[in-house]
C-alpha cells in the first residue's frame, strides 16, 4: 500500500474536462510529473515521446484494412490511417450502425477485408459479412454454426468471442463449444469445422486465432473449470490438427525439448510442467490460452500467455505450478517451447498471464532492443527481450500491494507475506483484484509517440480460499473474492505508458474499469470505450479527451479503423456490455431473461443506471 500512496502522490491533477462528464462522474486527465523534462517538452512540440521505437511486424494487408484481430502479428493495434486528427476529431459522427442480434459481452473486434466487414457475435457465434460498398450496408451472407447450448453454462465469464482472423480467402474463428471453423469469405459456406475442446470437461474456446504460414493457431479456455490448457495449430486448408502443445504436464506434452532455453535458471529442468505440482494435480491445473497471440516472423516464434492455475485455492497445489500464469514463446512450425517466463509462479490471486504481448523494437539504455511488452493481470508492465525471455524492466502500472517489485536476478516477484492467500483465511485488501491491473482489454502502441495506450482496472479484493473437489464439467475454483474500487476513488484508468522507462506519461481516470481495448492511429488520436458506454477519442500525446459519444451499451470490445469505399477513414466499435464485468460483477445489467433477475453487485453498484445489455456495431466517420 505504501507503494500505492507514493505513486499517487506524484500524480498531479492537470485538467478536468467538463465535457466528459455527460452527467456521469467526470473522467479526469492526470499527468505524471515526469522525471524526464524532454518528455514534457516533446509532448508540446508533437515529436515522439520515445523516439526510435517501431512495431516489429508490418500491418497485415493494405493500411485501410483490418485483417487480423490486432491489425498485425505484433499486436500493436496501430493504424497508419491519419485523416482523423486531434484538430478534426470533434466532428466525428455516427455513419451507420448494425445490431448483431445477440446480447451479452461483445469483446473482440470486426475485420475489414476488400470492402467487406466480418463480425463474429458472442454465443451462438453467428458471423456476418457486411457489404461496405453499398448504401445501407447489406449483408453478403450470414453464417450460423452448429454450436452446443451446453457451452453457455461451461463458460466462466460470459459467452464472449474475441474475434476472427482472415487469411487465404477464409474467415477463421472459434466456437464457444470447443470447435474451430473456417468459413469461405466470399460465400459464407463452412469450409471445415474441427472439434478441438472437450466441453464435458469444461473446455470452451473464446480467443481469437491468428493464421501463421498456413496454420490456424488456437487455444483453450476453462482455467476456472480444471482444464489442462493447450495451444494448437490446424491446417488452414483442411482443418486437420498439425500440432498441439499442453502448457502443463511432462516435457513431451508441453513440447519442451532441445530448443528450450529459458532465461532464468529456476525454469530449467526436466518435466517441470508436472514436477512443480503435487502428484497428479497438474492434470486439472488450468493454464489455458484464452488471450491474445503474437508472432514474430524473423524469430518464427509465437507468443502466448497462460491462465491461472486451478484451483484458486493454492493449498491444493503447492509448488510453482508451471507453466501457468506464464508467457511462453513457441516455434510456430512445431509448437516447441523456446523460452518461458512464469510471471506469477504459484499464483494465488487468479492472475492469469494471458494478456497480449506487443512486439516492438525499443531504444533501451542507448540500444535498440527487440522486446515484447506485456501488461499483466498481476499489475506489472514487463518489457522483455523477445528472443530470450529476459526481463529488461518491470514496473507497476496500476496501484498494487501484493508485491514490492521484481527480483531482476530471478525474474520472480517479491511477494508481500500478508497478501498471500491461504485456505480458510480471509486475506483483505489485495490490489490489484483478480480482474488484474489489466484484463483481456488489449493495449495499443503508436510508433509516432513511442507510447503504449493501456486500458486498466483499479480494483482491490478480499480473498477467501476454500477446499474444492474436482468434478468434471463444474467450476474448479475454491474461492470467493469480493472486489471494490482501488485507492484514489476511481475504478479504471486509460493510461499512456513509456515501456523504456516503466513510467506512466498520462492517464484518464474513469469511474469504471476500462474493459474495452485501445486503438492508436497515425492521426495522433487514440480511441477506447468505457463500461458505461462512452466511446472516446483522446490526443495520443497529451491524453486530452477530444471527443466522445454515448453508444447503445457498455463497451468491452476493441476499436478498429479502416478506409471505406469512399476513401474516408472509419472507426468501428462494438457496444455490448458483458464478459466478467457485465455478467458476473455487475449483476443487474441484463434485462432479457425473466427468470434471472439479479441484485446489483457491490463492485459496480450503479453501472446499471448507465447501461444495459446490448449487441451493436457503431461506425463513425468525419
Amino acid at each position: 500500500m505504501e507503494r500505492v500512496l507514493r505513486g499517487c502522490a506524484t500524480i498531479l491533477p492537470l485538467i478536468a474536462i467538463a465535457a466528459c462528464s455527460g452527467g456521469n462522474k467526470a473522467a479526469v486527465v492526470d499527468s505524471t510529473s515526469s522525471a524526464d523534462p524532454q518528455a514534457t517538452s516533446s509532448a508540446a512540440t508533437g515529436t515522439a515521446l520515445v523516439s526510435g521505437a517501431r512495431i516489429a511486424v508490418a500491418h497485415a494487408g493494405p493500411p485501410g484494412e483490418w485483417q487480423m484481430p490486432a491489425g498485425d502479428y505484433a499486436s500493436s493495434r496501430y493504424s497508419e490511417l491519419a485523416s482523423i486528427t486531434p484538430q478534426n476529431v470533434a466532428n466525428l459522427r455516427v455513419s451507420w450502425a448494425f445490431s448483431t442480434g445477440v446480447l451479452r459481452g461483445h469483446e473482440g473486434q470486426p475485420l475489414v477485408v476488400a470492402n467487406t466487414m466480418y463480425i463474429v457475435t458472442p454465443y451462438p457465434n453467428v458471423s456476418y459479412a457486411i457489404d461496405l460498398a453499398q448504401t445501407g450496408q447489406p449483408l453478403k451472407w450470414k453464417f450460423r454454426p452448429e454450436n452446443s447450448q451446453q457451452a453457455i453454462g461451461k463458460a466462466c465469464c460470459d459467452v464472449v468471442n474475441r474475434g476472427a482472423a482472415y487469411a487465404d480467402g477464409k474467415i477463421f474463428y472459434n466456437l464457444l463449444d470447443g470447435h474451430t471453423v473456417a468459413v469461405d469469405a466470399a460465400t459464407g459456406n463452412q469450409v471445415w469445422r474441427t472439434k478441438m475442446g472437450d466441453l464435458s470437461r469444461g473446455e470452451t474456446i473464446t480467443m481469437a486465432p491468428i493464421v501463421v504460414k498456413g496454420k490456424v493457431i488456437v487455444g483453450s479456455s476453462g482455467g476456472e473449470m480444471g482444464v489442462r490448457g493447450w495451444i494448437a495449430a490446424l491446417d488452414a486448408a483442411t482443418g486437420k490438427e498439425i500440432w498441439r502443445a499442453y502448457n502443463i504436464g511432462p516435457d513431451k506434452d508441453v513440447k519442451v525439448g532441445p530448443k528450450f532455453k529459458p532465461f532464468y535458471a529456476h525454469d530449467r529442468g526436466k518435466d517441470l510442467g508436472s514436477t512443480s505440482w503435487p502428484g497428479d494435480t497438474w492434470k486439472t491445473g488450468g493454464g489455458a490460452v484464452w488471450g491474445w497471440l503474437s508472432y514474430d516472423p524473423a524469430l518464427n516464434l509465437i507468443y502466448h500467455g497462460t491462465s491461472n492455475p486451478g484451483p484458486w485455492n493454492e493449498n491444493q497445489r503447492t509448488g510453482d505450478n508451471k507453466w501457468t500464469a506464464a508467457i511462453l514463446a513457441r516455434d510456430a512450425d512445431t509448437g516447441e517451447m523456446v523460452w518461458a517466463l512464469q510471471v506469477t509462479p504459484h499464483d494465488m490471486w487468479d492472475y492469469d498471464a494471458v494478456n497480449e504481448n506487443i512486439l516492438v523494437d525499443l531504444p533501451i539504455k542507448g540500444q535498440t532492443r527487440k522486446v515484447l511488452v506485456h501488461f499483466d493481470r498481476n499489475g506489472f508492465a514487463y518489457t522483455i527481450d523477445r528472443a530470450t525471455g529476459e526481463i529488461l524492466l518491470a514496473e507497476p502500472f496500476v496501484p498494487m500491494n501484493w508485491s514490492t517489485g521484481i527480483d531482476m536476478a530471478t525474474g520472480r516477484p517479491k511477494v508481500v507475506e500478508t497478501k498471500k492467500t491461504a485456505q480458510d483465511r480471509n486475506v483483505k485488501d489485495i490490489c490489484p483484484s483478480l480482474e488484474g491491473g489489466k484484463n483481456q482489454q488489449p493495449a495499443a502502441f503508436s510508433p509516432q509517440t513511442g507510447l503504449f495506450y493501456v486500458p486498466t482496472n483499479n480494483l482491490c479484493m478480499d480473498f477467501q480460499a476454500r477446499a474444492v473437489t474436482y468434478i468434471a464439467g463444474t467450476p474448479f475454483i475454491g474461492g470467493n473474492a469480493p472486489e471494490k474500487g482501488g485507492p484514489g476513488g476511481y475504478r479504471g484508468e486509460f493510461i499512456a505508458w513509456d515501456a523504456t522507462t516503466g513510467k506512466k506519461i498520462w492517464g484518464i481516470k474513469e469511474p469504471y474499469p476500462v474493459w474495452g481495448g485501445a486503438l492508436a492511429t497515425a492521426g495522433g488520436v487514440v480511441f477506447y470505450g468505457t463500461l458505461d458506454g462512452w466511446f472516446k477519442a483522446a490526443d495520443a500525446r497529451t491524453g486530452k479527451v477530444l471527443w466522445q459519444f454515448k453508444v447503445g451499451s457498455g463497451v468491452v470490445g476493441n476499436p478498429v479503423t479502416y478506409t471505406g469505399p469512399d476513401g474516408k477513414q472509419y472507426v468501428a466499435i462494438y457496444a455490448g456490455i458483458g464478459g466478467d464485468m457485465g455478467l458476473l460483477i455487475a449483476g443487474d445489467v441484463a434485462a432479457n431473461l425473466p427468470y434471472d433477475v439479479r441484485e446489483r453487485g457491490t463492485t459496480l453498484p450503479d453501472i446499471a443506471r448507465w447501461t444495459s445489455w446490448g449487441g451493436e456495431l457503431f461506425v463513425f466517420s468525419l
Partner: protein, 187 residues
C-alpha cells in the same frame, strides 16, 4: 429436444415410483418423495402434477389439461413433493452440498447468480416447484446444467432442492438502483 425431455421425465418418474414402492414395502418413510393419489385434487405450488399413462408402455404427460376429450387414460395424478421442504437441518445440509458439488461457483454465493442463473429472485427458467427443481438437478438442463441423477443420491438432490428453494425470497421486479448490494466474485 421435446422427445428427450419426455424420456428424461419418464426416467425420473419411474425412479420416483420405485422409491414409492420401496416405501410401501416398509422403507424409511422419511425418504418418501412421491405419493400417488387417486383423487384429483388441484396441486398447490409445492407440487408438480404428472399423469402416468399405463398402457403398452409407461408414459408421462406433463400437461394433462391439453389432452383431447376422450383420450384413453387410466390415470392417477402423481404428486411429487419434497420430504425435506422447509426442514432446517436438511436445508443446512443442502447448503453444504451446494458448496461441495461446486454449485456455488456457477450460481453464486447464496445463489445470487454467476455463470448460471440466480436463485434469489423467485424466478425459474424450468419451473420452481420441488419436482421441477429436482428434475433440473437430476437430469440437467440444456444450457450447461450438469445432470446429477445417478451421480449423487436422490436424497441429496432433495436436500439441494430444499436449500435452493429456501433462497428464493426476493421480489426484484423493480430496480431503482438504490439499497442493498451483493458481493460478487468475478472469474
Amino acid at each position: 429436444m421435446r422427445h428427450y425431455r419426455r424420456r428424461a421425465s419418464l426416467i425420473l418418474s419411474a425412479l420416483c415410483i420405485a422409491i414409492a414402492c420401496r416405501n410401501n414395502a416398509g422403507a424409511n418413510s422419511d425418504t418418501s418423495a412421491v405419493s400417488a393419489s387417486a383423487s384429483s385434487t388441484s396441486p398447490d405450488e409445492n407440487t408438480t402434477t404428472h399423469l402416468l399413462v399405463a398402457g403398452d408402455s409407461l408414459r408421462v404427460i406433463e400437461h394433462p389439461e391439453n389432452l383431447p376429450a376422450g383420450f384413453p387414460l387410466q390415470i392417477k395424478p402423481l404428486l411429487i413433493s419434497n420430504p425435506y421442504e422447509g426442514d432446517k437441518r436438511a436445508i443446512a445440509t443442502g447448503a453444504q452440498l451446494f458448496v461441495g458439488y461446486n454449485c456455488l461457483d456457477c450460481h453464486g454465493a447464496d445463489g445470487s447468480g454467476a455463470m448460471g442463473p440466480s436463485f434469489q429472485d423467485g424466478r425459474w427458467h424450468f419451473g420452481g416447484s420441488p419436482g421441477d427443481v429436482f428434475e433440473s438437478i437430476y437430469q440437467g438442463r440444456p444450457e450447461g446444467m450438469p445432470a446429477w441423477g445417478g451421480r449423487i443420491s436422490n436424497e441429496q438432490i432433495w436436500m439441494l432442492t430444499a436449500y435452493v428453494r429456501s433462497l428464493s425470497s426476493k421480489d426484484l421486479s423493480t430496480e431503482n438502483f438504490t439499497g442493498k448490494t451483493v458481493e460478487r466474485t468475478g472469474h
